[in-house]
Symmetry: C2
Subunit: 251 residues, 2 copies
């Protein structure tokens, strides 16, 4: 196994709705003297993907329901209009306690506040929603980068989620293109020739978590590259990372 | 921010109880033409740490309690003697359903089967326990590597855990020395000058997850190096990653 190299993509300008994000990233790489290489994994945070796709809500225009007002009144410093936006993105409330609202949203992501993001928005009165279909977003970026550069890269679209049982946030993969999200090592044997049980690795989440350390929010670094990591291509996206509710002991 | 480089440490021999693991790793690096550099993060899987520390139980000598037999009878292919070993490592059962036994063990880790590991053992009739105090294990390795090489590295001791809500396993940090486990970005501001709420990153878990992709179990690669990642030193270990039960919505 050869070395793996990671680097952040610096100098991406502030992304606005309608921007060609892939092109902005390719241009920022070029300015930094970097070029994509085949087999690179480009990790991009959902916020810039959402912004480019116009997934923005002016929450000051939103009329909160009575339930949203009720929820907001239980948290410190919660705005009922933002709670209303969250509830409109919510399939199901997983846990509502001590001012936290952990919900199932989109294709089954379990996260705080449906991933609705109040920071780094377009302006003070807007919030950003998660991409509608981050696997599709990832595929579009992969195709667009191939058009721009002639190079086939894999894409992982990430967001920063909390977890049960452990402190601290980790970036996880919401969308993917061109890379297997789960790495299935079942069937391999251990050093004693015993089958390795249950060894399905959340490969795309591990890559997202590491890249997340390079994509510092306060510094406006929305993307990073992982180079030299061998992986199998796949068109299944990040959907396999979502545990079906029927198989989940904690939902 | 400069580039980050990751590489697996190949050629570490099979670890036996009483082995000087740090020295085995230093020697394997030397054979591979690598030397530790100041600021390197050495990530080591708990299995070899546990083996070197003799955290091995011959489960065929263990007498299962009636409860262990009862639990074993509900799972496919569960050995009541191994369940007994698991229960002896368990503070509290978090979830017991569909053949899974998710417990709180050690200083509050929530994981399947108390981390008791049936694969890559010393022999067919043994299982491996988690290290008693992986932060202490990490500190000892850091000190020992300093003695051997004169170089100060940070250490992360990992295990592979499942998660709520998402498929696939990730390596997490059970122990650490010389590096902050949590990276607290609170107080920083976003690009609009708005405070970044709730941004405490599980830095050591992200590093563990990525290194876990290089430490392939079937291939007997027990350690990896992360070089060029800037971090603040800390003597707090990995304990801050454990969410106290009182703060946990899911326990």
């Amino acid at each position: 196994m050869s070395d793996i190299r990671l680097f952040p993509i610096l100098g991406v300008p502030r992304v606005e709705p309608g921007d060609d994000l892939s092109r902005l990233i390719v241009e920022a790489c070029a300015r930094a003297g970097e070029r994509f290489a085949a087999g690179d994994i480009l990790v991009v945070c959902q916020k810039v993907v959402s912004k480019a796709e116009g997934r923005i809500v002016r929450y000051t225009d939103v009329e909160p329901s009575p339930f949203a007002r009720q929820v907001a009144s239980q948290g410190e410093d919660k705005d009922a209009r933002i709670v209303e936006v969250v509830l409109r993105q919510t399939n199901r409330i997983v846990k509502m306690d001590r001012g936290h609202l952990i919900v199932e949203t989109g294709p089954g992501w379990v996260c705080a506040n449906a991933g609705v993001d109040e920071s780094n928005g377009i302006s003070e009165d807007t919030v950003i929603l998660l991409p509608e279909d981050p696997d599709a977003s990832a595929r579009r970026m992969r195709d667009r980068i191939r058009e721009e550069t002639g190079v086939e890269v894999a894409i992982i679209v990430t967001d920063t989620f909390g977890r049960a049982w452990r402190e601290g946030l980790l970036d996880v993969a919401l969308g993917a293109a061109g890379i297997e999200a789960l790495l299935d090592l079942r069937g391999q044997q251990d050093l004693n020739g015993r089958d390795l049980h249950h060894t399905v690795v959340a490969q795309a989440d591990a890559l997202a978590a590491m890249a997340g350390l390079l994509m510092r929010k306060g510094d406006g670094i929305p993307a990073a590259v992982i180079r030299g990591y061998g992986f199998a291509p796949s068109e299944a996206g990040a959907a396999p990372l979502v545990r079906a509710r029927a198989n989940d002991l904690f939902r």
